[in-house]
């Protein structure tokens, strides 16, 4: 990059452009013929010029040429052709015309395709180059960059540039040649008409671009403003919760309104210009035929021009405005695209680029090479001094605390060491290598700041990405498709490796292969006390389909074993198992009816009461009236609660199937049923009350609404439901079956196959312990952990809590196995108690390696070898806490500590 649009296009698509230009030249004679033939048709065939003076036949398709005069001037006839009559001659010429028109179309088709390909290839190259550049911005510039603006530039703004790349040379050449040919053709027919056409074209070509200049200025303005709009909108969307808290929506809404207003004004001015220019253009185009008809007609009448010529001239002129207009359009596109190209270039090259990384193949400095700082000084871009002339040696391996008494010295040093600040004076070197730009001299230093950067994808993806530094080649054998892809990537300067290649560097992780990957990730999580989180997520999240038959078997074994272990522990009463012939008091009435897990929305709790089939079953067992009664009692209880004031959390949780904000409709239903009785109440009322009743769980709500008779009826309805459900309905539900897994439920629920009872002290803990013990015993722990790692993080990790994000970022750092770890407030999100525990664990794990941690003043310095106290920008004290280890230990991965 760093050059104009045309030179960029020429540099990267020279060969293709030349090829298309050659095609254009080839098409010229054809174009000429398609212009010339109508004249012949009119003159020779229709008006019969060729047949004048008694000639009755002409020869066609004869092939002859005449030697130039200096070679004798002889006429050489290679083929005499056919003699044809007038009508045949007309047909012959007409078909010839058709042929050349088709040929001309064919040329156009090919030229357009080629153009499109040139444009798209250059676009792909440009986009990738821009992306690559952003990746190499200095950290300071990255922080100052609005991601939405960059994304909008890479995605939208370069799009028209891409379209223009194909047109840059080809279209202009094509149009110029076409217009010149047409003009030349007209001139050959009649010089005066030709000059007239040329004059009008001249006016078009000179005046209109001038008028369009203002149009371009407006267009540029519009682009800048809409880019700003995109940036602000994305910023406000990100900050929306804060804006809402402080009721600042109105102010920010007004700002967006202003911006939209400005965009509208620009757009309106733009339209006025555009259509004025268009009007002028059309006028000129319409005026010309007027001249042609009058002047041409006059000349024809006077006999200075024949009718054939006139027809041909008019036909040629009809062809003329199009290339001219397109040429003017092209010129405008050129101006637009050039401006956009320059702007995008400016936006992407304003930032200082990073130095290249240490050349490949050079071994990293040894892990015990000390880091030397000399005269290190850093001021931010506004000139505030953040770190002042620091000179010291950091021996490795060593655990160093950078304690901040006040100010930012500690954080600044951590960021410089971690390559997060590059605009400093003085030098940092490791061994004999000097830090420059992003490069940390090849040393394996991992910096982790306070913002855990999590990307969309699974937790596993988020951790394993650190091992994906180099592609080991395609994962699957070469296929035709991949060869094509490779060729295209080569033509456009894109990476030759694909994301689907095998990327993970198992050697670097110290493991044998993919089978051990999850173990390594879990080991990393264990170090930072994140194991529980992963395990719980795997245990409680939806299980999904289990492909591995042996895992299926083990899960079913675990279900059986769980019952045994529960009984062994004397806690059989803690779980009420699903039994097809027993009412499960711990489950709701609706669950007891279904006795299965809904798969789609049809039998989801909120749709249950509306389902006609289920309703039929309820009516058949005369359950409707008792259920309505239960619903009524529940509703009245809730209305009582609402009447007492705002319901407490405890009550709202237990009655979460009620909408507490709408007591009126509830009241209406209750009145309806009390006034009209079950029989005459509206069906909507009955449906709603049944829906409520289906959520009732006796031991949870304790209103004493379920008796044995009702249980029997529910069981009978359950039986008929299972019996009569149609084949299609069967796809909406998985019935509980001791011998089958239910994929929509969690592993925990699958093993439990029942419900934990209410009112038993510590029931949940005990059951949880036994489930986990059973899972371990059955060897499905890896499967559960795999499920936990499979969990989606969401864009920016938004599906996770801040603590989870921090834990994942820490685990990622551990997983990467760096020589030196720099933690710059990386654990603060965990909360004080947890932070201390995680820090102790990290110190233990990184024993024998270097750990540099920023701490607030009050933190315990236990476990650190050395503490640097910073006051403001300066070093206050350098305290050795433990004598540095004389014999640096071999850096060996301890795995899960």
């Amino acid at each position: 990059m760093g050059q104009g649009l045309f030179s960029y296009a020429w540099r990267h698509s020279r060969r293709e452009q030349l090829f298309v230009l050659a095609l254009i030249l080839l098409s010229l004679p054809v174009y000429w013929m398609s212009l010339d033939l109508p004249k012949q048709i009119v003159n020779d065939a229709i008006q019969g010029k060729a047949f004048a003076e008694g000639v009755t036949s002409v020869s066609i398709l004869e092939i002859h040429f005449r030697w130039p005069a200096f070679l004798g001037g002889q006429d050489v006839r290679l083929f005499d052709g056919f003699e044809v009559m007038r009508l045949e001659f007309l047909l012959y010429l007409s078909f010839l015309f058709l042929f050349f028109s088709l040929l001309n179309g064919g040329f156009k088709y090919h030229i357009n395709i080629r153009k499109g390909i040139i444009g798209e290839r250059l676009l792909r190259r440009l986009r990738f180059e821009l992306f690559e550049r952003v990746m190499r911005f200095s950290p300071e510039d990255l922080r100052a960059t609005k991601s939405a603006e960059v994304a909008s530039m890479i995605k939208d703004e370069v799009e028209p540039i891409g379209g223009f790349f194909g047109d840059a040379f080809v279209t202009s050449a094509f149009l110029v040649v076409q217009a010149t040919t047409a003009l030349l053709f007209i001139m050959v027919q009649n010089l005066m008409m030709g000059l007239l056409a040329a004059a009008i074209i001249g006016v078009q070509g000179l005046v209109i671009p001038r008028l369009r200049r203002e149009q371009q200025r407006l267009g540029r303005l519009r682009q800048l403003e809409s880019r700003k709009l995109a940036g602000r909108v994305s910023e406000m969307v990100d900050a929306a919760p804060m804006l809402r808290t402080h009721h600042a929506e109105a102010y920010h809404g007004a700002e967006i309104g202003d911006r939209l207003g400005l965009l509208y004004q620009i757009r309106e001015a733009l339209y006025r210009r555009k259509f004025a220019v268009k009007f002028l253009n059309n006028l000129l185009a319409q005026v010309t035929p007027f001249f042609f008809y009058t002047l041409g007609g006059y000349l024809a009448l006077k006999g200075e021009m024949d009718i054939g010529q006139l027809v041909a001239v008019i036909a040629a002129y009809r062809d003329l405005p199009t290339p001219i207009k397109e040429l003017i359009d092209w010129d405008q596109q050129r101006a637009d695209a050039t401006i956009k190209f320059d702007q995008v270039q400016a936006a992407f090259s304003r930032h200082l680029q990073m130095d290249e990384e240490t050349p490949h193949g050079a071994p990293p400095p040894p892990p015990d090479a000390p880091i030397r700082l000399s005269a290190l000084r850093h001021a931010d871009r506004r000139g505030a001094l953040l770190l002042d002339r620091l000179t010291l040696n950091l021996e490795r391996p060593q655990h160093v605390a950078l304690v901040s008494v006040s100010g930012s010295g500690a954080g600044t040093l951590a960021k410089i060491l971690g390559g997060q600040i590059t605009e400093y004076s003085g030098t940092v070197s490791v061994g004999d290598r000097v830090f420059s730009g992003l490069s940390t001299g090849g040393a394996r230093i991992a910096y982790l700041g306070s913002d855990p950067l999590i990307m969309s994808g699974t937790i596993r993806d988020n951790i394993s990405l650190v091992a994906k530094t180099q592609s080991a080649g395609p994962d699957r054998p070469e296929r035709r498709e991949s060869v094509d892809n490779l060729r295209e990537a080569m033509l456009t300067g894109n990476p030759l490796h694909r994301a689907s290649d095998a990327w993970i560097d198992y050697d670097r992780l110290g493991i044998a292969g993919p089978d051990e990957l999850d173990d390594a990730i879990v080991a990393a999580f264990s170090v930072v006390r994140g194991f529980e989180g992963i395990y719980e997520a795997g245990l409680r999240g939806p299980m999904g389909a289990v492909d591995d038959a042996s895992v299926q078997e083990k899960l079913l074994d675990a279900r059986g074993l769980f019952r045994t272990r529960l009984a062994d522990a004397g806690s059989k009463a803690l779980v009420e198992t699903f039994e097809v012939d027993r009412y499960n008091a711990t489950a709701s009435i609706g669950e007891n009816l279904l006795f299965g897990a809904p798969i789609g929305p049809r039998f989801a709790p909120e749709n249950l009461a509306g389902d006609p089939f289920l309703n039929a079953m309820i009516r058949a067992e005369a359950l409707a009236r008792p259920l309505v009664d239960i619903g009524l009692k529940l509703s009245e209880t809730v209305l009582d609660v609402i009447a007492e004031g705002r319901p407490s959390r405890a009550i709202a949780d237990r009655y979460s199937f009620f909408d507490f904000s709408d007591p009126e409709s509830l009241q209406r239903h209750c009145q309806d049923i009390r006034k009209n009785g079950f029989g005459r109440a509206r069906s909507e009322t009955r449906r709603r009350l049944i829906e409520i009743a289906l959520n009732y769980i006796e031991p949870k709500h304790r209103l004493g609404l379920i008796d044995e008779a009702l249980q029997m009826r529910v069981l009978r309805a359950r039986t008929s439901f299972r019996q009569y459900i149609s084949k299609r309905g069967y796809e909406d539900i998985r019935f509980y079956d001791r011998g089958a897994l239910i994929t929509t439920m969690s592993v925990f629920e699958n093993v439990l196959f029942g419900r934990v009872v209410y009112g038993e002290p510590r029931a949940a803990e005990t059951v949880q312990q036994i489930v986990r013990a059973v899972i371990e015993e059955c060897g499905i722990q890896p499967f559960v952990i795999g499920l936990g790692l499979q969990r989606e993080a969401g864009p920016g990790g938004r599906l996770l809590s801040p603590e989870q994000r921090a834990t994942i970022a820490l685990a990622r750092t551990v997983f990467a196995r760096p020589d030196t770890v720099i933690l710059d407030q990386a654990t603060t999100l965990l909360g004080q108690q947890e932070e201390a525990k995680v820090m102790a664990a990290l110190q233990k794990h990184f024993e024998g390696r270097t750990l540099i941690v920023t701490c607030p003043r009050e933190t315990s310095l236990e476990g650190f070898d050395r503490a640097l106290f910073f006051d403001g920008a300066g070093l206050l004290e350098d305290r050795v806490l433990n004598a540095p280890k004389a014999e640096p230990r071999v850096v060996a991965e301890a795995g899960a500590a």
């Binding site: 007492e644 959390r649 002290p761």
Partner: protein, 140 residues
């Protein structure tokens, strides 16, 4: 046991007798009915005090102390928001309503009768302590 029976029991206890039935009902609606076997711990010293237990029936024993807790347990921890200081066990079968700390405090703030009931219970414990173990600090 249904909530109506629980309310009957509560209304007969000296602590809650003066609390309006509708308020007691709210308390019960947001509670869990727990059954402790003899010897089982209601809670152990050091557990976070998120829950308060309103005793419906049965006898309790406080570790190390020889006085009886009768109506509300866990209230000190709940008021001070500190972990439980002592372990409380069921001596006989104990039935209790388990109420979250916040639910009880909410109720006490909105209903002076409940606040009074809590104060009465605390006063009763202090009286017991004053009579039996004048040297020791109050724990409950």
């Amino acid at each position: 046991m249904a909530i109506d029976d629980e309310l009957d029991l509560l209304q007969r206890s000296p602590v809650f007798a003066s609390v309006p039935a509708s308020r007691l009902r709210m308390l019960a609606l947001g509670s869990d009915h727990m059954v402790f076997k003899p010897g089982q711990a209601i809670f152990e010293a050091g557990d976070p005090s998120e829950m308060v237990y309103i005793i419906l029936s049965g006898r309790l024993a406080l570790s190390d102390w020889a006085f009886e807790l009768r109506y509300i347990v866990g209230i000190v921890g709940a008021l001070l928001h500190k972990p439980y200081v002592a372990t409380v066990r069921a001596e006989t079968e104990v039935r209790a309503l388990r109420v979250s700390r916040t639910a009880l405090l909410d109720l006490a703030t909105n209903c002076p009768h409940t606040a009074m009931a809590v104060m009465k219970e605390l006063a009763r414990v202090i009286e017991l302590l004053a009579m039996r173990q004048p040297a020791e600090e109050a724990h409950a």
